[in-house]
Amino acid sequence: MTATDLLAAALAAAGSLFFVAGTLGLIRFPDVYSRLHALTKADNVGLGLIVLATFLRAPGVANGLKLGAVWLLILFASAVAGHLIAREALRRGIRPWRRP
Amino acid sequence: MTPALLYGLSGALLVAIGLAGAIASRSLVRRILGFNLLGSGAFIIIIAFARRVAGPVPDPVSHALVLTGIVVTVSATAVALALAVRLHDDEDGRDE
């Protein structure tokens, strides 16, 4: 295992950690807005780390551009989807959770 | 145990779950979901076979079969769902 492999493994593990955190938030947070928060933020950072790890394993300009494009597109899509869901929830009258 | 064998067994389990669900579910939509699962499981078994017996390149005829199967499945699912929506106009709801 070279240093690159170790670094890639560490990045992938860190990315997975973010995904776990996001999933935990999805399960445990009290309302749809905070769950969206967990999903879009944590999952995208996790994805970015995993993309970095993958790039280390398959280097090259073409691969790098493709992987970067994948990450950016998912960023856009999840941002738009999060916005739409939150707006629909607001329209239906779901109020943000307040500490009781 | 090769990966193909492992996935083949997984596919067999998927067929079982889809079959049981398609028969034993009360709501139409869930039955349609079950049929989709049944189809996907069958496809996995076919491709597991293709991977098991071939050499460097897996059997392309099986691949073409499954590709066709996926397209036909989505066609059938669409018609089934359209029918289900029409039938639900006076049924008692979508939960099981």
């Binding site: 856009f76 899509a77 738009v80 739409l84 239906r92 | 145990m1 090769t2 990966p3 193909a4 996935y7 067994l9 596919g11 067999a12 389990l13 079982a16 779950i17 049981a20 669900g21 028969i23 034993a24 579910s25 009360r26 939509v29 869930r30 979901l33 989709n36 699962l37 996907s40 499981g41 496809f43 996995i44 078994i45 597991a48 293709a50 991977r51 098991r52 017996v53 050499g55 390149v57 392309p60 005829v61 691949h63 073409a64 590709l67 066709t68 996926i70 397209v71 036909v72 989505v74 066609s75 699912t77 669409a78 018609v79 029918l83 289900a84 929506v85 709801g93 979508r94 939960d95 099981e96």
Partner: protein
């Protein structure tokens, strides 16, 4: 293909687990979400089984289009009134049906597992025939060669089935007076900007998948699914890309008719239905696939749009 890795064990365990979740979740909306996740997991299984063409199709059609169909259907089915207690109809005939279903499923699983474990390791004759004839097919991707050249007749009928499904859904489903590609419009600047940003890229990706399918994983169906997704996005966002109602039948049936014409034309040129000469096969296949790209995209978009009328306001998760 090397030995079983951790990823393989994870995927092989996840697939039945997700399937069980699909069948067991009370709320159909959640079951559908898990179904979409299952579709994407199965796409990963395809990748591990050296089937990248199928992985593309599964992700786009199996998870994407099918998921959209289910979501749309669920939006149109009114749920039970809030607070209603589900009547638990536990009757003997129903328990018997459930028991029989489980037994039948267990028997099926055992038989299939036995088949998987005892499949012979020798190469089927047809695989060797395809491999020997592949250089004459005009394309480098063996799956595309089989789909369009060696088994082109099957693909022709498959497009016919798609067309029939579009007709069926249009007849059963939506209000006949609706616009040619109606659907719930999601108003707002964010999705409009997103659509404006994505649509050119999606069209290029679809065309690229078509073109690259000749020699690498890809093909007309995968491109058509991407194009259908772009179509749906444009309709939902309100981007003015609507097709006049008079022109839709041309788009829907055009691919099939073109395929039929080329197939019949081959009788005149080469003496047999769908018989291609090795030298010119590539261009005929490209012609057929281009028609299929547009038509299948139109059909898939129609399947989603015409599934039902606009959603009733009281429905929802």
């Amino acid at each position: 293909m090397n030995g079983v890795g951790f990823v393989d064990m994870l995927l092989a365990a996840a697939v039945p687990a997700l399937a069980a979740a699909v069948m067991l979740y009370r709320d159909l909306f959640r079951a559908t979400v898990v179904f979409i996740v299952l579709g994407l997991t199965i796409a990963l299984v395809w990748v591990r089984l050296d089937a990248p063409d199928i992985a593309l199709a599964e992700a786009a059609v199996g998870a994407g289009i099918t998921g959209a169909l289910f979501m749309r259907a669920l939006g149109a089915i009114p749920g039970p009134p809030r607070g209603a207690i589900a009547v638990d109809r536990v009757s003997f005939p129903w328990l018997a049906v459930r028991g029989a279903a489980v037994v039948l499923a267990a028997v099926a699983a055992l038989l299939l597992a036995w088949a998987v474990l005892t499949v012979p390791s020798s190469e089927p004759v047809v695989t060797r025939l395809v491999r020997d004839a592949a250089p004459e097919s005009g394309v480098g991707n063996p799956v595309t060669a089989v789909l369009l050249n060696f088994r082109g007749y099957d693909t022709l009928l498959e497009v016919g089935v798609l067309l029939l499904a579009a007709l069926g859904v249009s007849t059963i489903g939506a209000d006949r007076h609706a616009a040619s590609l109606g659907g719930t419009r999601v108003r707002g600047p964010v999705i409009l900007a997103f659509a404006h940003f994505m649509l050119p890229g999606l069209a290029v990706v679809a065309a690229y998948l078509l073109w690259i399918g000749a020699d690498q994983p890809g093909g007309a169906f995968q491109g058509a699914a991407v194009l259908a997704g772009a179509w749906l996005l444009s309709a939902f966002a309100g981007v003015a890309a609507d097709v006049p109602a008079r022109r839709m039948p041309v788009l829907l049936a055009g691919g099939f008719l073109l395929f039929l014409l080329v197939a019949a034309g081959m009788i005149a040129i080469n003496g047999g239905l769908l018989r291609f000469a090795p030298a010119t096969a590539k261009w005929w296949l490209l012609l057929i696939e281009s028609g299929l790209l547009i038509s299948c995209a139109a059909i898939l978009a129609t399947l989603v749009f015409r599934l039902t009328d606009d959603e009733r306001p009281e429905a929802g998760p």
